[in-house]
Amino acid sequence: MTSQAPERQDLDFEVGQLTRVEGEGSLHLSVDAAGSVRAQLRIFEAPRYFEQLVVGRTPDEVLDIVARICGICPVAYQMSGVHAFESLFGVEVDPGVRLLRRLFYCGEWIESHALHIFLLHAPDFLGYPSALEMAADHREVVERGLRMKKLGNRIVAMVGGRAIHPVSVRVGGFSRVPRVEELDELREPLREALADAEATVALVAGLDTPVADREPRLVSLRHPDEYPMNDGRIVSSDGIDLAPGEWRDAFHEVQVPWSHALQARAEDGVPYLLGPTARVVLAADQLHPRARAALDATGLTPDDLRRNVFRSIVSRAVELVHALAEASEIVAGYQRPARPAEPWQPREGVAAWATEAPRGLLFHRYELDAEGHIRSAQIVPPTSQNQAAIEHDLELFAPSVLDRSHEEATLRFEQLIRSYDPCISCATHFLDLTVDRDR
């Protein structure tokens, strides 16, 4: 008697609608009879035309407009824009303003990372369809996340005038800077949150994590003296080294038929990974000592985080510790700048810069006329750049779950997509998956 292996069949996986998201998208994944996998992250949200909306506007108007691109990471859009303009105009900001901008960014990282870790990603690992169900059994965990998120929003509001779409960022500084007494109110909440964040690193490092292994090309800013946020050079794990305004020297955008969002590629066409894991690996030596200690205590190394996409939740938690620790130090040493903003004069030319949004490198480039009005704009968000890496990782990972139930395959595909914390799928816990198996 002989046994025959079952004949391999073509498989099509359709995740039709990524709902409750900052944007609209779906996943199409196909496997042919030879076992070759092709994944397409289909972003079908209508284009928002922000690059056209800013044409003809002044730099300070641009900063208010680009803040509207995202409700979760508006600071990133303002920071990339303001640094681009200041670079062109030759503005040197007050050191106190520079520190306030780092505090501002810390606030955004804290609220964004806390949202993702506790409300969007942890339910995948703990076996719940959403944070709502998770709260019934893990109330303290959810409350901890909400406390940190609230604190992050409070920091953004204190520096930026309001938590969503801040209004105080101006070329040269801020329209207003907080008083010492205002920031002092953050000291105790930051101290408490830092302990919460350290416990979070231990918690997420201990979660049951799917097995995955890959060697992504990593890209982030790197600065010799600080963890990358507003300054540094664009570096990669394979030797790219550029000034923050030179992104186009090594990368370019491409349009693919299945997405309304432009994708980005390195010049050799290979996808690359942005975000917390890229930063933790490429700037490991600049992590705050408490963040590094929290990671070391887990027994995981930066390389462990790099190789398994599902470990991004650990990278995000490590950065939560970093942002809270750095925010604490900035608040403790805060001296109100003598003046909130430096004067500046417009000039004709190209203003370009990249900063580190919670999800990764965010590049802005503007062409300005002699009066400082925008002639053209290019904004390259991290989710756009990560799309190709998401698809690549899905293709690598898919074979390991093709023999599982639809429900489990769905969960794993969603969990992988959420590992990137994409803006278009901030809450992809509510997918409908249909599977067609060609026979």
Partner: protein, 150 residues
């Protein structure tokens, strides 16, 4: 002065009718600001509903789809998650307003006096003006909010 009442306005100033709640905040009579805290929250989060003293009243205001344009509805905030499928909030966010309320409720953050006040919208496009129906409905929305402030 009763500052234990909070009016939380949600929506987007750039989203056509989705700006209705934010506009209503500006149109409330000054005396209301003495009786309540007016908050431009844009995107409601669960944590914004946690930590208030017992007996606090929160009025969450947003523009919704699912009722006639300009029509004003109000209901106990606790009932919003179940009705969310019908009264769709216009903005897509990480957690919808209904999910945020449900999560806050699960954590004991919603009281019997908390209410949701919605105005039906018709035009939610980026940069669009508000629809005539919503413009016409704004006084009614403002009156409904004012009437619910203790």
């Amino acid at each position: 002065m009763n500052r234990r009442c909070r009016i939380l306005a949600c929506g987007s100033p750039d989203g056509g009718d989705d700006a209705a709640a934010l506009d209503a905040l500006q149109l409330l009579p000054p005396a209301v600001a003495l009786r309540a805290s007016l908050e431009d929250v844009r995107q409601l989060s669960a944590e914004q509903l946690l930590g208030d003293p017992p007996g606090s009243v929160r009025l969450v205001v947003d523009c919704v789809a699912g009722v006639g344009p300009g029509e004003v509805v109000d209901l106990p905030l606790r009932e919003l998650p179940a009705l969310e499928r019908r009264l769709r909030p216009a903005s897509s966010h990480a957690l919808s307003i209904g999910q945020a309320v449900a999560l806050a409720d699960r954590l004991g953050g919603i009281g019997p006096g908390d209410r949701f006040i919605g105005i039906g919208g018709a035009a939610f496009g980026l940069g669009q003006p508000k629809s005539p129906a919503v413009e016409a409905g704004l006084p009614g929305l403002v009156a409904r909010i004012e009437g619910l402030v203790p």
